[in-house]
């Protein structure tokens, strides 16, 4: 099977979608503005959680989840990975997964495991 068949560029799927090349689609400006509002709300939530003492016990997992949500929203909509060829997602998320594992591994090795001894 040819590589171009394995990684077909997606076709426009929604109204208002356009691009510079045939089959090179992405969202319209309204979607981008909505995404911007969502990112702002999540950021405000993060800061609010930081200042609520009652949430300090569960602050770390909540902040990590919100931060991860913002990361994926920007990658999928603003970087167009939702609309582009999945090969772009693979070449980005594979090393990103490794980077996340490096961070977790280093924190476990130097911060968590020594405290368990």
């Amino acid at each position: 099977m040819a590589l171009s068949e394995a990684y077909p560029e997606p076709q426009p799927q929604e109204a208002g979608v356009h691009g510079t090349e045939p089959g090179h689609a992405h969202a319209g400006w309204k979607t981008y503005v909505v995404v911007g509002v969502i990112l702002t709300v999540i950021t405000a939530l993060e800061v609010a959680i930081f200042y609520i003492p009652a949430l300090h016990g569960v602050m770390v997992p909540i902040l990590l989840a919100l931060s991860g949500a913002k990361f994926f929203i920007v990658a999928l909509w603003y970087m167009h990975l939702k609309y582009d060829s999945r090969l772009f997602s693979q070449v980005f998320f594979a090393p990103l997964s490794l980077a996340v594992l490096v961070v977790i591994g280093m924190v476990m090795l130097f911060k968590v495991l020594p405290g368990l001894r």
């Binding site: 911007g36 990112l39 950021t43 920007v74 990658a75 970087m79 090969l87």
Partner: protein, 198 residues
């Protein structure tokens, strides 16, 4: 390997049928995740290992950094609106949103310059302690990436104002946009891991 003519400018494509420039740039961004992953790891390991102050909880200014984070998020919105307008051939709004992105990026750098100067006056330098070393290296490299992005955008702005950025050459702006959004997602991680989680 195939070559497709787009408004007189060849967009070289790989065997996958995807633009070589874009695919290569995604590979570069993948390598950048490992670069910043290493710096974030170093910060996470060293931030509480300082034997002399000042310490992170004494210096980090959450309200100020929240505003600069909002500014960078809005610059990402401006960037994607710039690409949208350039792809539609808007000679007015394309350059406007490119300029807005560069301006918001510059404002973010202003916040960072203020923060670094404030930390310096409080006695924190690259050599003071492990927190200072790992903090300045991580946020400094991010700031350097933002600076490169602003300069890149200003070059594209000049091209756009001269009418040299038609829809057929929007791939140039799209790649710059990928870089800009990457800088944004790195800051999303830094804001949480460095500033919010103690």
């Amino acid at each position: 390997m195939a070559t497709v003519e787009l408004s007189g400018h060849p967009a070289v494509r790989t065997a996958t049928g995807l633009p070589m420039l874009k695919l290569g740039f995604w590979v570069f961004l993948g390598s950048e995740t490992l670069f910043f992953g290493s710096l974030i790891s170093a910060y996470m390991v060293y931030k509480h290992e300082s034997v002399v102050g000042p310490y992170s909880h004494e210096l980090l200014n959450i309200p100020l950094t929240s505003v600069s984070t909002f500014v960078l998020l809005m610059s990402s919105l401006a960037m994607v609106l710039a690409l949208d307008n350039v792809q539609r051939g808007s000679r007015r709004w394309g350059p406007f949103w490119i300029a807005m992105t560069a301006a918001l990026g510059s404002l973010f750098l202003g916040f960072q310059a203020y923060e670094f100067t404030h930390f310096y006056h409080e006695g924190l330098t690259l050599q003071t302690n492990l927190f200072g070393s790992s903090f300045f290296v991580l946020t400094g490299f991010h700031g350097a990436h933002v600076t490169i992005g602003v300069l890149w955008l200003l070059l594209l702005l000049v091209q756009a104002l001269r009418g040299q950025l038609p829809p057929g050459k929007a791939l140039q702006l799209e790649v710059a946009g990928l870089y800009w959004h990457f800088v944004d997602v790195v800051w999303i991680a830094i804001f949480t891991l460095v500033y919010l989680i103690e």
